[in-house]
Amino acid sequence: MNPLFENRLNLTRREFFGRGALGIGTAALASLLSKTGGLGSEVSAPRSPVIPGLPDLPHFAPKARRVIYLFQNGAPTHVDLFDYKSRLQQLHGKPIPDGYIGGKRFSTMTGKADGKLILSPVEAFKQHGQSGAWVSAFLPHIASVADELCFLKSMHTDAVNHAPGISLILSGGQIPGRPSMGAWLAYGLGCDTSDLPAFAVMTSVSKGTSCGQIFYDFYWGSGFLPSRFQGVKFRGSTDPVLYIKSPEGMGRPMRREMLDDIAALNEIKLREYLDPEIATRIAQYEMAFRMQASVPELTDISREKDDVLGLYGPSVREPGTYAYNCLMARRLVERGVRFVQVMHAGWDQHNSITTELYTQCKDTDQPSAGLILDLKQRGLLDDTLVIWGGEFGRTPFIQGNLDDRKRWGRDHHPYAFTVFMAGGGVRKGMSYGETDDLAMNVVKDPVHVHDLQATVLKLLGIDHERLTYKFQGRHFRLTDVHGEIVSRILA
């Protein structure tokens, strides 16, 4: 065979990992594949072939090889959780002093902010660890790992509403239609396994909340990138991946036989038509077969030790909870998945700062900290970047009536919020950036969402200006036409 053609047939197709079926023979292929199928095998067992990324990537030596984004949907209140300001306590119940608002735009629930009353943080704050990071009593577990974390306290964004805000921070644009960060990384860096997708997504919602945040699939969409880069949703149900289960009554041996027949008949077609797409199809059916084994193996936590499960808190065994998803995130990255997006909704406390916020923190505090500890004890934290944060912050002033403590709330606040990161080449025990004495506006070292994105890409060895995709005649990138790397937080 013409070597150039073979090369193109097999290797220029990024989806065609390992050796193609062409020229190997189905039986050999099948045996090759069954060896890497890894039913119940230890994670360190022979790895399936990697899926290569773009040839010119990484642009420079990466610090992080994979990302877990613990996305806090609904906008956690920076005012009550991380950004401690004693002046808020002093001014509690008083109107916002002059000079803080200046024609700023808020959601229609607030309308004009002038004259609104300051609301003090509802729980006590303390400094933690050697770094002395401020964390509220809402989050004791996160506070206990404060020295592992890097707090970005000067985040700001352009959007005041959830969907545009989340879209902006995850995909670089407020309007749906651009590839999300995970899709960019799957496209650029490929995957360290071909048993599982490069980009996995899981969702959960706080037990106590009834507010209607919705997980839109464009939060993990591939936009104009080929759809194979979109996030694959792992569900907290008996079918963790859509259509992963064979029909009832069809065991694995029969599925294998069926795939052998499909491959044999497809090879006849390939010899007749010589269409390389047929070779790709054979390979993709084989990967489907491997996923049918690797996904149940992934979700079988029976071999996890009790002390490990204990790190994630009591609801870790319950599929679909945030704790369970955090554990799955570790298991996914351990198996070579590039980007895991864990989304947890319920942070939208318009009238429940003194009620639902407690449930919300309880559900997420221990699992978030547990994940960091677990990654650390496995040596995975060094090259795994963990990001915790939402789409914007919440107003330092009250939404609701000061006399009705049960209904205290805070509205959307795009002008300042806090995100923290851990591992993956980020400096530990650091707080970066500052807001004013009311946590209202950023006054030092502002970090726009595009800057955060540029920095994340940098940690993964990518120049955010050079990872582009041409669509509609324009070279698009995650950071749109913006993005400055926050170099002082790089370890």
Binding site: N161, G212, I214, R228, D239, G249, L265, G473
Partner: protein
């Protein structure tokens, strides 16, 4: 820390358009196809139409800018003399400071591009405009006596192009391949064995053409053509965004099917959808068609600023029209002048002004936001007429009754009646209202009172109350389709800084992009004028853009592969003469779409076999030169329809209400925290054509992989090949049940023996007979599975459980289960998934 295998990185070898040409003779460099794309890609960012980012006051997008003398006496380009052309000197400079494009832009020119520019300058630097912005002129049909296998002018263009590349058309595909290909292309459904054998046996010389005519006349044609239009029109059955309320736009979808089937000329099709409401004496149907514009998402999120929403909707309408008819990427101009195309931010807002005139305020998330039209189904219309009569009759009877119950002089109102005055105040008020005008609430209160006080009165009241209730329930269930309507006073449109609704700059008047409107032409002032301008023979884009999409539908890729973008950054057409010829032919035929489809599918180009020599796959992997027939995986909706049709499960019905077929449990619930529950249909709803599946915008139906999500206008469907697709077609109950149903159907046909089942199944799914090798392999599998299931009857029962109980006697169940697995194998073969 664990070591990870380092990804082996292989260089991607891709052919640039020029390279699939072998041994091409150096013809004169073509400015708009060869030079303009280089300038656009590498220079326009700083030397293009966007005035704000213009560097050194040098524009390379205009002839004056590039060739004109500059203040210092030099010129960027001096025809005939590269060495005196400042631009050439700068791109070839070895001085880092001098060199263009600047290193930091990372837009370096390749040496072949520099050579091309040098040749172009030497040849006289002939200038021209972007090809797509010039009106197409009818190219001469290439005539070459050596060309054979020509069936219509399409082939002349293709064969001529191939000849220049040292290639020729491939032979015609076999009839069995052809009928499957053309049936899927024109109706979205595979041919039946009967249709296949009739066609194979048809001795007439125009057997194929008659087949095409039959397919074009089938009502399934409209259903097939509608899918791509729905993707473009971002049609969905819910609003999108938070809340994602259900809407009732489906009568518009049914209208699209009908319009395709009736072959409504494309100019009318366009006019009605953009401006049907503005036509003189607009019919209900013409108004309904404007639902196209209103298919955009609606954001009902609490706290959203209405005006921000409204501006979003207007922009969406404008951008959709720009993409669908003009192939322009208008969205770039929301914030700034276009970097590449001669479109300004002003152009964008002038264009959006056409859509800025509806009374929509942007407030709330009502999925039936006015203006709308009510489109009752025929049954609803009949019921409504019946109920109107019933209400009138019942009201009359009540009036008569009340005349006696509350006596008063005939010229006095009922309120003057003494017996009424004795009643509770509230009841007096209700009674004072004409029975025909009493609403359900009043009637209810009256009923409650009289139930215990006057049985006869109660009875008469109840008749009216029930009729009124029934009528209001019916009226509420009549679908309302949001449509276009302009308010009487003109709403001012502003150029918005960075596209922000609250940052208006100067006021603009409605108008079309200046660079596309030849001076002196009549400027449109409203949507109707806009639609007429879009359809004007002077418009260089509309026909090209649309015929290109039809071509894309049949060949998997357009003559211009960037079907969403015909701007300067568009890919050059693979066969520009053919594109122009088709565009003009389409217009001069009176925008006759069926004729265009017929022209394409009866060409020798379309009818070629899709097998090819290895060298050709290597040289032209995307088949841009068309030296072979198209071969690509069908859209997922077509795969599902094929499985339903082949198995005999397909239910073809004219009921347009969206249906809810099989979908894994919990998909909607997970995305909406239980706010939206998926209530799967029973019976017919499971087996309707994919077109009628309920489209929830925030979580699209899971069975349609690789389909646009319908959130925004999309005119090019992605086509990928992933393991998730394999999982869907192997494990989705729709496909597996189809395999089972097909098996049972074959087994209950007493004329067939097991061997016959297999052969028949093969024919039904793949449209041809199996080879010996294929048959051998499948037959062995059938034997093996039959034995397996015979030994494990419980497994057979498990496999047949969904819907399988009613089929066949217990002793055939192992065979049925085995045949089911084999049929599932067939549905998953590359050939079954592919239109070849």
């Amino acid at each position: 820390m664990r070591a990870r295998p380092i990804a082996l990185l292989f260089a991607v070898i891709a052919l640039s358009p020029a390279e699939y040409e072998s041994g091409s003779v150096a013809a004169e460099v073509h400015f708009s196809r060869e030079i303009l794309p280089i300038l656009s890609e590498h220079c326009f960012q700083c030397h293009g139409p966007d005035e704000k980012s213009l560097k050194a006051k040098l524009r390379l997008d205009t002839k004056e800018g590039a060739l004109g003398k500059r203040a210092n006496g030099t010129a960027a380009v001096v025809p005939g003399n590269p060495k005196e052309s400042q631009m050439f000197l700068r791109i070839t400079s070895s001085d880092k400071e001098e060199k263009m494009p600047p290193e930091k832009l990372k837009k370096d020119l390749r040496s072949d591009q520099i050579e091309l520019i040098e040749r172009w300058i030497k040849e006289g630097a002939h200038w021209g405009s972007h090809w797509a912005f010039d009106k197409p002129s009818r190219p001469a049909v290439p005539l070459d006596p050596s060309l054979s296998a020509i069936l219509n002018p399409i082939d002349n263009f293709v064969a001529d192009r191939l000849r220049r590349a040292g290639l020729s058309l491939s032979p015609e595909a076999s009839r069995a391949v052809l009928i499957r290909r053309v049936a899927l292309d024109l109706t979205g459904l595979p041919p039946t064995p009967r249709e296949i054998s009739d066609f194979l046996a048809d001795p007439s010389i125009d057997a194929y053409e008659s087949l095409v005519d039959r397919l074009l006349a089938s009502p399934r044609y409209g259903e097939r053509m509608a899918w791509d239009w729905l993707d473009a029109a971002r049609y969905a059955d819910s609003n999108g965004y938070q809340g994602d309320s259900d809407r009732t736009m489906w009568p518009w979808r049914d209208w699209v099917v009908k319009a395709f089937n009736e072959n409504l000329p494309f100019d009318q099709f366009t006019l009605w959808q953009l401006a049907g409401d503005l036509l003189p004496n607009a019919t209900q149907e013409q108004k309904l068609a404007t639902g196209f514009c209103r298919n955009h998402m609606i954001n009902g999120e609490g706290g959203r600023i209405p005006e921000e929403n409204r501006v979003d909707y207007v922009m969406d309408m404008a951008e959709t029209a720009g993409t669908v008819w003009l192939g322009l990427t208008f969205n770039c101009c929301r914030c700034h002048d276009h970097k590449y195309d001669p479109l300004t931010q002003r152009d964008y807002y002038r264009f959006s002004a056409f859509f800025n005139q509806t009374p929509v305020t942007g407030a709330g998330g009502d999925p039936q936001t006015k203006p709308f039209v009510e489109v009752p189904t025929p049954i609803q219309r009949r019921s409504s007429e019946r109920l109107d009569l019933e209400v009138v009759r019942a009201a009359k009877e009540l009036a008569v009754f009340e005349q006696t119950k509350f006596p008063r002089p005939s010229d006095q109102p009922v309120s003057s009646s003494q017996p009424l005055k004795d009643l509770p105040k509230e009841l007096q008020e209700h009674t004072a209202i004409d029975p025909a005008k009493r609403d359900a609430g009043r009637l209810e209160k009256m009923s409650v009172y009289w139930k215990t006080n006057d049985a006869a009165y109660f009875e008469v009241l109840e008749i009216l109350r029930k009729s009124v209730n029934e009528r209001s329930a019916l009226l509420a269930s009549i679908p309302r389709v949001m449509v276009m309507e302009d308010q009487s006073t003109n709403r001012a449109t502003f150029l918005l800084s960075k596209g922000l609704y609250d940052k208006p700059l100067e006021r603009v008047k409605a108008g079309v992009p200046e660079s596309l409107a030849p001076s002196g032409t009549h400027e449109p002032t409203n949507r109707l004028g806009l639609a007429q301008w879009i359809l004007s023979p002077e418009n260089p884009l509309t026909s090209r853009v649309f015929v290109n999409r039809i071509w894309q539908q049949f060949f998997g890729i357009g003559l211009v592969s960037t079907s969403e973008n015909f701007g300067v950054q568009a890919e050059n057409p693979s066969n520009p003469e053919l594109l122009d010829w088709l565009a003009l032919e389409f217009m001069s035929s009176g925008w006759d779409l069926k004729r265009l489809c017929r022209l394409i599918v009866t060409s020798a180009t379309y009818r070629q076999q899709s097998t090819a020599a290895r060298e050709l796959w290597e040289r032209d992997p995307q088949n841009r030169l068309l030296a072979r027939g198209a071969r690509f995986r069908m859209p997922s909706w077509m795969l599902r329809d094929q499985a339903l049709s082949a198995s005999g499960l397909l239910v073809e019905s004219a009921d347009g209400r969206p249906v809810r077929p099989y979908q894994p449990d919990g998909v909607w619930e997970e995305s909406t925290f239980g706010a939206k529950r998926y209530k799967q249909d029973q019976g017919e709803g499971l087996y309707r054509r994919s077109l009628y599946t309920f489209w929830r915008r925030i979580v699209a139906p899971t069975m349609f992989f690789d389909n646009p999500s319908r959130q925004v206008c999309t005119v090019r469907q992605p086509r990928t090949n992933t393991p998730l697709h394999a999982l869907a077609t192997m494990n989705d109950p729709t496909y597996f049940e189809a395999a089972m149903h097909l098996s049972a159907k074959l087994m209950t046909n007493s004329n067939l023996k097991p061997e016959g089942w297999l052969k028949r199944a093969f024919l039904i799914v793949l449209g041809r007979h199996p080879s010996d090798a294929e048959f051998g392999r499948l037959n062995a599998a059938l034997d093996r599975y039959t034995k397996d299931f015979g030994l494990n009857p419980a497994q057979a029962e498990a496999i047949l459980k969904p819907g399988g109980q009613s089929f066949l006697s217990p002793d055939s169940r192992a065979e049925l289960a085995a045949l089911t697995v084999v049929c599932s194998t067939l549905f998953n073969l590359d050939e079954a998934l592919t239109k070849q």
